[in-house]
């Protein structure tokens, strides 16, 4: 079983990212769950969302406390949220940043970075001040983790993203290609 936690801010699409990742894995015949941090949501506030992926049927009905992967959509959260909290030993952190993976330290975690903000803005997804980076970051997820194919993420984007489908697919592809730390 593979457990992923997304950190973002309300409006950036963290919940859609978790749902889209689940849908992509489901299309490959895996069993999935995706859910937001159970509770109330506000635009701009820190948002946490989760995806669970397994080759066999998932029976577990509890939230995710010890993820295999943490995906950070907004590095301004690093000052306010302990994003690597509960991360499994040897886990993976994927960050949306223009910086190199070596600029960060999360203990023994493997770190991957991608400038999802620039990629999103160049593809007309959101604005420079509030970019919608969820589809770009999923491209980086596919490259870094490899347990969900980029083609499945395209299909899931078609199914889950309401507008600018081609731009979102292009953002995922560019992020896949530009992921650092591979």
């Amino acid at each position: 079983m593979y457990e992923v936690r997304f950190h973002g801010r309300g409006g950036q699409g963290s919940v859609t990212a978790a749902n889209t990742l689940a849908d992509a894995a489901f299309r490959e015949g895996k069993d999935v769950q995706a859910f937001p941090m159970f509770g109330v949501e506000r635009r701009g506030a820190p948002v946490t969302a989760f995806t669970r992926i397994d080759e066999k049927r998932i029976d577990l009905k509890i939230q995710i406390y010890e993820p295999d992967v943490v995906v950070v959509l907004d590095t301004s959260l690093l000052d306010v949220v302990d994003v690597s909290s509960g991360l499994k030993p040897g886990g993976i952190v994927i960050l949306n940043t223009s910086k190199e993976p070596g600029s960060f330290d999360f203990g023994d975690a493997d770190i991957y970075t991608v400038d999802a903000t620039s990629i999103a803005v160049e593809n007309g997804l959101g604005t420079e001040t509030s970019p919608i980076v969820n589809t770009a970051i999923l491209g980086a997820y596919s490259r870094a983790i490899g347990n969900v194919k980029l083609e499945s993420i395209y299909e899931a984007i078609e199914n889950n993203v309401p507008v600018k489908i081609e731009n979102n697919k292009k953002a995922a592809k560019e992020a896949f290609e530009k992921t650092k730390g591979v």
């Binding site: 849908d23 769950q33 995706a34 009905k61």
Partner: protein
């Protein structure tokens, strides 16, 4: 057979799609967390022309259920959704729906009751409606949520039953969680569930009649006995309908489903989404050589006494695990299971565990602990503490 579509959807979407496939005529609803997506989706289906039904927006849950009653009394197929305080506010109307023998179906996002305010999962809302005369089904996952909605209409509308049904899906754990769900084709649901064609009288201005009006002491008790007989009769109808659904759609439902119970010394009895984690716990404990099984209650009303006697009768101990509490006693299922076995000479040791209230997760370690406490009671042939609270936050209770 049409092709089933596989989708990744939230629990609320699963119950809404299940309801839509049943082609309801009227949807009176008042939104409340965590069920709000249900009326939103039903209203979208209607606006998009996918469902030919009337949505009735009301100002409270009391009015929502009142509108359900009025609409259903005309012979319409009626569905609604609610949760927690909403179900509580409907309370007096719930009895009128069942007393008038109206086959309304309601999806409930099972949520804790105030005070203190809490929007998360437990079963207190529907358990508090236990005596309202509604049938009650509880889903373990989103697939069950969708399937049970479709089964609920067929059972509710059966001439031998004519009673309303609640389908419970756990707040957030199911309502807000995306899972893979197989959605049956419309033509197949149409074949499974014929158009509602009430043989009993219905409200019709051309043939005026009064329903549910007044029964003095000479008649009231007979009404209640007839209503109670109908829920007794629903037992065999539920089995029939579940079996027909399995034949058509390949998914078998049971009033009580079992896992690893055949040679089990200790059986965990669960309801709702916790059953999934409990199954994982049983797999883990079986690997450790423990003779443990799982019995999941899908149907809580009518209470499946004969089935539970069969399944649990040979076990040495039963851990009754509940997300509800009747203050001054214990859990509702524990009370009824005790009564189920009261006249049996041989019966398992029974322990009651209250946990998972107000959205607290129930972990695999918690199930292991409850297994062990039940096993200890069996070995001691004595139950010191019949009702125990599990997974307390020590920092708060200290």
């Amino acid at each position: 057979m049409g092709e089933q579509k596989s989708l990744t959807i939230k629990g609320n979407m699963a119950t809404a799609l299940g309801a839509k496939l049943c082609r309801p005529n009227v949807v009176p609803a008042y939104p409340i967390t965590p069920s709000t997506l249900f009326p939103e989706k039903m209203s979208e289906f209607i606006a998009d022309g996918e469902l030919d039904a009337s949505m009735i927006n009301v100002e409270s849950e009391h009015s929502a259920m009142s509108a359900c009653i009025g609409a259903s009394a005309t012979g319409a197929r009626v569905v609604t959704a609610s949760a927690s305080q909403g179900v509580a506010l409907m309370h007096e109307m719930l009895f009128i729906a069942s007393g008038m023998r109206l086959p309304i179906v309601m999806a409930v996002g099972n949520r804790a009751l105030s005070a203190p305010i809490n929007i998360w999962c437990d079963h207190q809302d529907t358990i508090a409606s236990r005596d309202s005369g509604w049938l009650q089904f509880y889903a373990e996952n989103n697939q069950e949520g969708l399937d049970l909605m479709i089964n609920a209409f067929r059972i509710a509308e059966d001439d031998r039953v004519l009673l309303p049904v609640m389908v419970g899906i756990d707040a957030f754990v199911l309502t807000h969680t995306i899972e893979g769900v197989d959605v049956p084709a419309q033509e197949d649901v149409d074949n499974f569930l014929p158009t509602y064609d009430p043989k009993q009288g219905t409200l019709n201005p051309k043939e005026p009649a009064t329903f549910g009006s007044f029964a003095p002491p000479e008649f009231y008790q007979e009404f209640k006995q007839a209503q109670t007989q109908a829920i007794e009769d629903s037992r065999s109808v539920i089995d029939e309908v579940f079996d027909d659904y399995a034949e058509r759609f390949g998914r078998q439902y049971n009033k009580v489903s079992t896992f690893e119970c055949d040679d089990a010394d200790i059986i965990l009895l669960t309801m709702g989404s916790m059953s999934g984690t409990a199954r994982e716990a049983v797999r883990k404990m079986r690997k450790d050589g423990k003779k443990v099984g799982l019995a999941k209650l899908t149907v809580f009303r009518p209470f499946p006494m004969p089935e539970l006697k069969d399944i649990l009768g040979d076990a040495k101990g039963v851990a009754v695990i509940e997300r509800n509490i009747s203050p001054g006693f214990g859990g509702a299922v524990f009370a009824e299971l005790g009564a189920t076995f009261v006249n049996e000479k041989d019966r398992p040791i029974m322990k009651n565990f209250i946990t998972g209230l107000g959205g607290r997760d129930i972990f695999i370690e918690n199930f292991e602990e409850m297994y062990q406490k039940t096993k200890d009671a069996v070995e001691a042939s004595k139950v010191e503490e019949p009702v125990e609270w599990i997974n307390m936050n020590e920092e708060v209770t200290r």
